[in-house]
Amino acid sequence: MQIYLPIAEMSLNVFLLLGLGGLVGFLSGMFGVGGGFLMTPLLIFIGVPPAVAVATQANHIVASSVSGVLAHWSRDNVDFKMGLVLLIGGLIGSTIGVILFSLLRSVGQIDLVIGLTYVLFLGLVGALMLFESVRALLRRRRRPGAPRKLHQHTWVHGLPLKMRFRKSRLYISALLPIGVGFIVGMLAAIMGTGGAFLMVPAMIYLLGMPTAIVIGTSLFQIIFVAANVTFLQAVENQTVDVVLALLLVIGGVIGAQIGGRTGARLPAEHLRILLALLVLVVCGRLAYEMTAPPGDLYSIATTEGGL
């Protein structure tokens, strides 16, 4: 059954989209990540214009983070103060990201920049995660990022504007979470992801937050960053497709529940290795597309009229 997507201006199979939402939801439920970094490339693979994929994905993330944060809130695993400070950086970063996005789109380089940021960050995060979890598996002992935390300790303490975050049991400069929020927000706007796969490692290794609090807090601030991106993309580029977003959300919430239950039965190290491999596969596929000779060196874009 085909459905016409009014903003993407194309017809796609309803079950393909529900299935895609379900698959990504399943993986995100299983691994505890948002899944935006998988969804955006997958949407582009099935032919959705990258600009629409990125903007619509931001809208999808609002929905999935809300249901996620409510679950974490009921377990009291959200540091709202930390979330709000991250959010200050996040809102500024995502606004600049959307402006950059329209600028790059008008000069025809947005596909390249989306591709490059994906390859870079997926490669980085995937490789680190694989390295860490393989090492953890080999040693059968978990010491998540202890050496890195010590390394960052000195200049973290040198920064001004110190704040106390009771729930995270931290006394650190507000500039640090603002900076993390800023960078993740900007990337979120360009890549169309919630940025959890960057935010979560940054919060654990850079800010030194307790792991239990990290996911809920990251989800809490991602709601607002993704909402900001959705709004700005809708105003600046008119690329938010609500029909597409709705189908992805429906598939996603069902998939996430099944994924969450499946994930609970697998050992944590195995899960992380699987996730790392998945991230690296997506990264490899994108890298291949950028370096392989294109089928046609020329591409076209309707720049005016002809709506």
Binding site: M1, Q2, I3, Y4, P6, I7, E9, M10, S11, N59, H60, V62, A63, S64, S65, V66, S67, G68, L70, A71, S74, G108, Q109, D111, L112, L116, I223, A227, T230, F231, L232, Q233, A234, V235, Q238, V240, V242, V243, A245, L246, V249, V253, Q257, M290, T291, P293, P294, D296, L297, Y298, S299, I300, A301, T302, T303, E304, G305, G306, L307
Partner: protein, 255 residues
């Protein structure tokens, strides 16, 4: 018209009027040699739209071959060329063409080259190879041609320019018909369907029918809403997502 007088200007005006009347009469006489219509003048793109065919039928007076040209609304198209830079393929260099039809298709009762002079094909822009777009001044001929060909190639790949000439079938001596296919990704707007009657290598009669392709129903409303009330659309999209996330939480908390 100005009132008649003895000035040379008004004589000229009267001559011009007479000439216009002559043209009008000839046009009327010519149009009678060819009658054609479409099975539908409106294509509605609804939620389930997967492409459609429109039947064009008509009759000619006397001998001749029929050519049908379908043109979508014109737009500005930027063609970009990729070059390998540090191992990756990057868009470098672009040319923006104006007056590019968003859709173009041709059908003919016999191969074009057999029935019309090449000059006529070129002048009337019949056939994908004869399309002309406006490009900025001062671009090398060879470079321009590469970009021009690339534009057509990309449009053909998207199914928006017909690669082959479609078939106009004659039923007996005078009645003809052809089917025009519009793919799922057809751009919206006002189209022109031009029917040409060709005799002895020249176009002797022509008729133009309008065809509107527009989004209808909820899809159209969403598209218009997203473009005309962008801020409100963004806010509603966010509220919708918040509600969806909240209801998902409520539903699955109990399971």
């Amino acid at each position: 018209m100005s009132s008649p007088g003895a000035t040379p200007g008004s004589t000229l005006a009267r001559l011009a009027t007479a000439w216009l009347i002559l043209i009008a009469v000839t046009a009327e006489a010519r149009s009678q040699t060819l009658v054609a219509d479409l099975s539908s003048h409106l294509i509605a793109i609804t939620a389930g739209f997967t492409g459609t065919e429109v039947l064009l039928f008509g009759a000619t007076e006397g001998e001749g071959e029929v050519i049908v040209v379908v043109r979508g609304p014109e737009s500005e198209v930027t063609v970009r060329r990729k070059r390998r830079t540090l191992g990756i393929w990057v868009n470098r260099g672009s040319i923006t063409f104006e007056g590019v039809p968003s859709f173009y298709a041709v059908a003919s009762s016999r191969p074009l080259a057999e029935i019309v002079q090449p000059e006529v094909l070129s002048r009337q822009q019949i056939g994908v190879d004869n399309l002309q777009f406006q490009a900025p001044e001062g671009i090398r001929e060879s470079r321009l041609k590469k970009y021009h060909d690339a534009l057509i190639r990309n449009k053909q790949r998207a199914g928006l320019f017909s690669g082959e000439v479609g078939q106009v079938t004659f039923l007996g001596e005078r009645l003809f018909r052809t089917e025009i296919y519009f793919p799922a990704n057809v751009p919206t707007g006002s189209y022109l369907v031009e029917v040409l009657l060709v005799r002895d290598g020249e176009v002797v009669s022509a008729q133009t029918s309008p065809l509107i392709i527009s989004k209808i129903g909820i899809g159209a409303e969403i598209f218009d809403f997203a473009h005309n009330r962008a801020a409100l659309y963004g806010v509603l999209a966010i509220i919708g997502a918040l509600m969806a996330g909240w209801s998902a939480h409520l539903v699955f908390r109990r399971v």
